[in-house]
């Protein structure tokens, strides 16, 4: 078991290194950072000074080593636009994104799984067909379009909820939270629904597919033959058996919720990391782009590692074959 953990950790470090190379080459080697850093009217002496200061005259692999060294010290460069360290900038925006993503994921789980189990239990009932039709909508309609419709209906036409921004926040543990104030919570509702819709549809479909297959299985037949009530069959046997794939997908989707927040945050002017990266791409703020990509990669690798390790603990077969 320890060998497996060490192996997976080494793999994660390797992937992280590979990603840092790709990100570095992608962002720094394509296009010329000198053109962005130095105004065209600068004279030769200033050009030379700036190039030496950022080490842009070094060969690419030396530049990468400098970049990697800074990275290991937690220095991801300074934003061209805000002129503060990018790490501070991104971490400052992170609570807003996490708050939004968690609200969305919790809402999607609490609604999606019961709907999916019902749709799988009674696949031919009219309500099940309605649920599945709705899930296809949620699954396939682009997030940004749903966001627009939500704004149009609930903010512009009905005027019930605000169309954007974060509203009032409360300081807790040194960061601001919207959910803890009435005004802030009203601001969370629309973006959270928008972000939750895709996960909701996904969880509904997963739960339905799992339940449908489980209902045909022998253990359900035996449980029924034993004389268990239907609620017990569903709650004790079906739910337990469909939970493993759902937990996996749920874990992986947590990360992608943060990624999808890019779109939702842009539409609802939610001041999180996603809006920051879109703004940075538009104004070519390269250090922020690099830092965001490195942090997101790190987040994903950590999530994958956690899922793998939990799996290995649950399933001894996987442990043996993976350690091969």
């Amino acid at each position: 078991m320890l060998g497996f953990i060490i192996q997976r950790l080494l793999q994660a470090v390797g992937v992280m290194l590979a990603m840092s190379v790709i990100v570095f080459i992608g962002v720094y080697a394509i296009g010329n950072p000198i053109d962005i850093l130095i105004p065209p009217e600068a004279d030769q002496a200033i050009r030379q000074a700036v190039i030496e200061r950022y080490g842009l005259d070094l060969p690419l692999w030396r530049q990468y080593l400098v970049f990697l060294g800074n990275l290991l010290r937690g220095d991801l460069g300074r934003s061209f636009i805000f002129n503060i360290p990018t790490l501070d900038l991104i971490l400052g925006r992170m609570p807003a994104t996490l708050e939004l993503a968690l609200s969305a994921v919790v809402a999607a789980t609490l609604i999606g799984i019961p709907l999916g189990v019902y749709a799988g239990y009674r696949p031919d009932a009219p309500l099940s067909r309605a649920i599945m039709g709705f899930s296809i909508l949620g699954f396939s309609v682009p997030t940004f379009w749903v966001g627009l419709i939500l704004i149009m209906v609930f903010a512009v036409e009905l005027g019930w909820l605000p169309a954007g921004g974060r509203g009032a926040t409360v300081e807790l543990f040194g960061v601001g939270w919207s959910l803890l104030t009435w005004d802030g919570a009203r601001h969370v509702i629309l973006p959270a629904i928008n972000l939750a819709l895709f996960k909701l549809a996904l969880l509904t479909r997963l739960a339905r597919a799992g339940t449908r297959e489980a209902m045909l299985s022998d253990y359900v037949k035996f449980a029924r033959a034993e004389g268990l009530r239907e609620a017990q069959v569903l709650g004790r046997h079906v739910l337990k058996n469909i939970s493993i794939p759902i937990v996996t997908v749920f874990g992986l989707e947590l990360g992608s919720t943060v990624a999808f927040a890019v779109v939702t945050e842009t539409i609802f002017s939610w001041p999180g990391m996603g809006k920051l990266i879109i703004d940075s791409i538009t104004v070519l703020d390269r250090p922020v782009m690099v830092a965001y990509l490195i942090l997101i990669t790190f987040l994903f690798i950590m999530i994958n590692l956690a899922v793998d390790l939990v799996y290995a603990m649950l399933d001894p077969r996987l442990r043996r074959s993976a350690a091969r």
Partner: protein, 304 residues
């Protein structure tokens, strides 16, 4: 006993005309049939857009700012009814949607086809060759699958710049992994079957076994993935264009039409964003409904 007898009779007819049997089963689902009809209508509308549209939305000489932001059903200086209204530049929205549909469908099909070709090649070659190459390719694919495609496409478009080729490249890179995973799964199962062993025993070259024997037998699951991925490409392209990172302004796809109307939505001029969005939504949902039905028909686990 009689049940077995009926099955035994049914199997040969199904095997003789597999496509016809497939179609009959498909047509039994009225929703899927309607969705297929919608897809066909949309593709035809996009194909013949210049013949159907009352106005060429890119002919700047025919546009007049006096006609800007007319409500649906209004008659402007052109003398005909703008059934879906006009946008901020005085463009007939119905025409703009038809031309936008053209661009969106083109990009979706192109990106889907490129991703299919790349992913299927990767997956099947990995399954055929095995060993270190297989381990390397599939590790790469798994790694990419754990990364959300929208983020990958976003970054690639930001790095490569705007343009049709760049966009297709970004969408392909973001999606090929799904095809590679599916192709690898199917090809690994086929690889162990007798007919491949028999082909390997003959002096046929490797590429022939891959393309003539393995590929055709891996196609069914790939077709299912392809329908879903084309719909996803269209949605992804619209999202990127909406964020201002997709196609250049000279090629207004549906996503850009929606983005252009967004700023007028707050002042109650909803139609500029709404109708391109409805067109996009109907198209994507219809493709997914068709794909869903095909997948259910091809899934052996639901056949009991």
């Amino acid at each position: 006993m009689s049940a077995i007898g009926r099955d035994a009779l049914a199997v040969p007819t199904r095997e003789r005309r597999p496509l016809a049997a497939f179609w009959i089963e498909f047509a039994e689902n009225k929703v899927a049939l309607a969705a297929l009809a919608v897809v066909v209508v949309f593709v035809l509308a996009a194909l013949f857009a210049p013949l159907i549209a009352p106005q060429d939305p890119y002919d700047l000489g025919k546009l007049s700012l006096l006609d800007a932001r007319r409500t649906p059903g209004a008659v402007a200086s052109g003398g005909y009814v703008h059934i879906l209204g006009t946008d901020a530049a005085g463009r007939d929205l119905f025409s703009a949607i038809l031309y936008g549909l053209r661009i969106s469908i083109q990009i979706g099909l192109l990106a889907g086809a490129c991703a299919l070709a790349l992913g299927a090649t990767f997956g099947i070659v990995a399954a055929y060759r095995g060993g270190r190459l297989e381990a390397f390719i599939m590790r790469l694919v798994d790694l990419q699958l754990s990364f959300p495609p929208i983020l990958l496409a976003l970054v690639l478009v930001a790095l490569l710049g705007q343009g049709r080729g760049q966009l297709v490249a970004a969408l392909t890179a973001a999606q090929y992994a799904y095809f590679a995973r599916t192709a690898h799964g199917a090809a690994s199962a086929e690889r162990r079957k007798d007919y491949i062993e028999a082909a390997l025993a003959t002096p046929l070259p490797g590429w022939r076994i891959v393309f003539k024997h393995l590929l055709p037998n891996c196609l069914p699951p790939l077709i299912v993935v392809a329908t879903v991925q084309v719909a996803y490409s269209i949605a992804l392209e619209a999202t990127l264009s909406f964020l201002g990172l997709g196609l250049p302004i000279t090629e207004p796809s549906l996503g850009m039409l929606i983005a252009n109307g967004f700023q007028y939505m707050m002042s109650g001029r909803y139609w500029i964003s709404l109708y391109p969005g409805v067109a996009l939504m109907v198209l994507i949902v219809a493709i997914n409904l068709v794909g869903d039905q095909v997948r259910d028909q091809l899934n052996p686990r639901l056949k009991r």
